[in-house]
Amino acid sequence: MRNLLFFLYKYYTFLLFFSLELFSLIILYQYNTYQRASFLNTTGAVAAAFYEKVNNTTSYFSLRRINDSLLTENARLRTLQLNAYYQNGFTLSTLNDTSYKQQYSYISANVVNNSVIRRNNYITIDKGRLHGIEPNMGVISSNGVVGIVTAVSEHFSTIRSALNKDTKISAMLKKNGAFGSLEWKGDNPKYTNLVDVNKHVQVKVGDEVITNNFSTIFPVGIPVGVISEQSLDAGDNFHTLKVELYTDFSTLRNVYVIRNKFRDEQVELERQVKGDH
């Protein structure tokens, strides 16, 4: 007993260091896996509120650019509207309402905190559970894919951006539907990589990359970027593809969170199938 006390007395600094370091590591990995520890949510909310205040001031400096990007998007959406098309056919078919059921809805949000140069980048937005956001929803900008929601508090959400080691977004080539997965290697925030595209598929520089419908997160056809470099090493089964992203993460201000109304149904079904095996 005396020896133990002596030991504690002699090494108390080391023991303090050791326990605090261990505590940090446990928090770090608990938080990464579950994202649920409630006291952490509070500190996260304080930081988000701080960043929101900062953002309220700084966003004025980029109003012109934000307006421009929204105008461009409006123009594109107007072009897609039904009344922008000349009716070429003679017969009008009546549209039965029940043949269309809305699957995706979009929630707009402002970016309050963002980074692009860390190995694992996260984005904080100013909408949360109150606005109907839940973990694992997809996030896009007016130009293309942004990331996936990881954690939600009452008024804020954090998004794992596409510029993150752990974000894997299922994508395909627009021209032939050959699919792969987006992975960021951590060197340049303007580019990402499309991996696992089979070597028998024809890929050229300039081909467009869009999301596919393998996941429940993004609707099919959300633009991602264009192929900027392509190479195929001898003996390799997969193309090495560099994709130039449409979304400019460093100036990101407005995003849309995608709510998939059929997600629960699909996830539940897939879970049942897995349970059978």
């Binding site: 260091f17 940090s24 951590g186």
Partner: protein, 172 residues
């Protein structure tokens, strides 16, 4: 005593605001990712008790972590750096420094001593921080170059700040 405490608190808040409002927004390259808030731990008086240094480092990391995702990276890195500082000073600081309760800075200890001191401890801090963030050894060399470039940038910024502040204070 109270004044000293307040001045340290003020220094901490200024460093934190500088980090979050200025440094964090300079996004030059994915390899240059400096952090200057460890300067707060570096400038604690040499005579601060070891357990106090460790505890202050931990609290500093905790506060900084509240502003970054994921939570825990800065806590782990800063606690480690604080613990390492105890050994570095045992070896690099002399008895007069301990007796005078010296707070290490550029003008008191000279540029070579101070830059080396910063470089060693900041490098340790960044090593823990960046490797924990990647959490795999598959990108070992890429992460190493990131640690290296960021440490140089952090130390350069810290030294620049010291030159501006302490030279100006001496002239008065």
């Amino acid at each position: 005593m109270i004044i000293e405490l307040l001045s340290y608190l003020g220094r901490f808040i200024i460093l934190l605001l500088l980090q979050l409002l200025v440094i964090k927004n300079i996004e030059l390259s994915t390899f240059i990712n400096p952090y200057i808030y460890p300067l707060f731990i570096l400038t604690l008086p040499v005579s601060t008790k070891p357990w106090q240094v460790v505890l202050i480092s931990f609290i500093t990391g905790f506060i900084v972590d509240s502003f970054y995702i994921p939570f825990g990276l800065h806590m782990a890195a800063t606690t480690f750096m604080g613990y390492l500082r105890i050994f570095y000073l045992k070896f690099a600081a002399n008895k007069e420094d301990f007796d005078a309760k010296l707070a290490p800075n550029l003008s008191r200890k000279g540029p070579v001593w101070f830059v080396l001191y910063c470089l060693v401890l900041i490098f340790a801090h960044h090593t823990v921080l960046f490797y924990l963030e990647v959490y795999s050894l598959s990108e070992f060399f890429r992460t190493f170059s990131r640690v290296f470039a960021s440490s140089i940038a952090s130390v350069a910024l810290i030294t620049l700040g010291q030159v501006l502040f302490y030279k100006a204070a001496q002239r008065k």
